[in-house]
Every structure is written in structure tokens, then in C-alpha cells.
């Protein structure tokens, strides 16, 4: 069961990671697509590792393919925590 706290916490982790990957902090929001943020497949693979280490959530390659926006990733992590 997810809570608002969970979502906020996961958002922080994802936003911070995206910043580290070089995304413009002003552009990082739920609706932003990874393409717009210039976040590529290697960045998403790295994000998967960070999420696995912090939350124990494992992404399959097919899961990652379906994540188009930042919100998609946050929701996926919260739902699978």
C-alpha cells in the first residue's frame, strides 16, 4: 500500500538521480518525458540500479521500455515497493 510520503520520497530519489544524469532541474516534473529531459537508456539503466539498491524494486528491460515520463517511473516504483 502506498502513501503520500512514499510518493514524495520516491520522487525525491528520482528527481535527484535525473539531475545527476544532467537533466535541467527546472524541467524535471512528473509530466516531463525522459526524451525531453535528454535521459537515455544508460541513464535509465543506472536509475534502475539506484532504485533497486534503495527500494529493492527490480526493473525488467520491458518495464523500462514502458516508462515514458518521470511520473510513470515514480508510480511504477511506488506500486512495486
Amino acid at each position: 500500500m502506498s502513501t503520500t510520503t512514499d510518493t514524495t520520497q520516491v520522487e525525491q530519489t528520482v528527481y535527484k538521480s535525473l539531475e545527476t544524469f544532467g537533466a535541467d532541474p527546472a524541467q524535471i516534473k512528473r509530466e516531463a518525458t525522459f526524451e525531453e529531459l535528454d535521459v537515455d537508456s544508460l541513464d535509465l539503466a543506472e536509475l534502475s540500479q539506484i532504485v533497486e539498491d534503495e527500494y529493492g524494486v527490480k526493473f525488467k528491460s520491458s518495464d523500462v521500455e514502458n516508462l515514458k515520463t518521470v511520473g510513470d517511473a515514480v508510480d511504477f516504483i511506488v506500486a512495486n515497493k
Binding site: T20, F21, G22, L42, E46, Q49, I50
Partner: protein, 248 residues
Amino acid sequence: MGERMSRPDDAAIIVTGAARGIGAASAQELAADGWAVAVLHRNGRGDAEALVQQIVDQGGRALPIRADLREPDEVERAFETAQQELGPVLGLVNNAGVRADNLALSITDEDWQLVLDTNLSAAFRLTRRAMRGMLRARFGRIVNVASVVGPRANPGQANYAASKAGLIGMTKTVAAEVARKGVTVNAVAPGFIATEMTKDVPPAVLEAVPARRAGQPQEVAACVRFLASDAATYVTGTTLYVDGGMSA
């Protein structure tokens, strides 16, 4: 964010097959260059411990770790031990290698698998594991010890040649994948080097070497040290031949 241009002070490097030969010489060079060195070995405990003592006596940091790299669990365990005891693993030298020579017609499945598992699959597993921390640190150095055999033929070594050519192929592709994150991946390709592995090679082989002598492990180790150093920041995906001109 881009890459980090210099190695963090507490960085550790794993050298596989480090009890003897090129691995041991590389461990010494890397320790002298300031890396904390995990000396991985399978059955060279005495040699590995002596090497570690030598490094420590010279003011360096090193730790012997026994692991059979054909076992994925042991790869993971060795990596964790290195990281806990020495510091963040930001360097990796995939040097462990075995030979099981025969004409292709006579290579058994077991001898094929033994060589590919040790020389290539173990290197891949360690690379995959080590890259996680390297990507986050925006700094990493991976050096794969390949061979002149692979890029060129050597009858009697189809399994060894396949493993070493595979290492070079892996080197190039992984290098291209992670280059923008400050992680470099290179290979060295030694020719005829005077080690335990080549002691049964007939001296006549030297006629094919323009330098007319066998190389010493230190001469390969110096190249490994360079590729793992801050001086080699813009060198990635390449294979440095250390063969006395054999491939020229």
C-alpha cells in the same frame, strides 16, 4: 553531469589472477600508483599473501581474496569483500586466464567451457558488477588483459583465441556504452611474455617476435598502470598491443 577527471583518493582496484605473472606485476604497479589493490587468486594463496606483504611494506594498501571466478556467487562475494575492506571499487583489471590447448577437432566441451568461463564470462560478470559504482562515481577504469592470440590465429588455441577476441569485442562495446560517464574500458594484448603460462612454449616462437626476446610481466603491467591512470582519461575502447612488434 560529465566525468570526474581524477581518481578519488580512497579508490580500490580489483586485479584478477594476481598471484603471479602479469597480474602480480600489475598489482604492484597499480599499488605504486596509489590504488588500494584487491589481489584476487584461485589457488595462489602463498604467492598472493607474499605480494600483498610486499605492497604493504612499500607503503601501499592491498588485500588477498580467494575466489573461483567461474562461480557467479564467488564473483559477488569477492567484489563485496574488496569494497568493504579497501574502499569503493573504481578500477578492475580482468587478467585471470587459463589455457586448455588442443586442435579444434579435439577440444572437449569441458575444455571449451573452462576457458570461456574463466577468461570471458568471469570478466563480464565482474565488469557488470563494478560498473554500478563506477557510473555513480563518474569515474572508472577497466582494463582487460587480452592477447595477440584472438586478433590473430594460433593453431591449437581455438578456445583461448575465442575468449580473448571476445574480451576485445566486449571492451569496445562496453567502452562505447559508458564513455560519457567517465568510465574507460580498454584492453592490453600481450604477446609472448615470460610467465608460468608460457614456460612450455618453444623458444623458436621468438623468431616471430621483431624484438627477438620474450616480454617481461612488468612491461605489460606498465601499460595496465597507464590505462588505469588519470593520464589516460581520453583513451577508451582501444587495445594496446604489448608484443615486441609481433602484430606490426
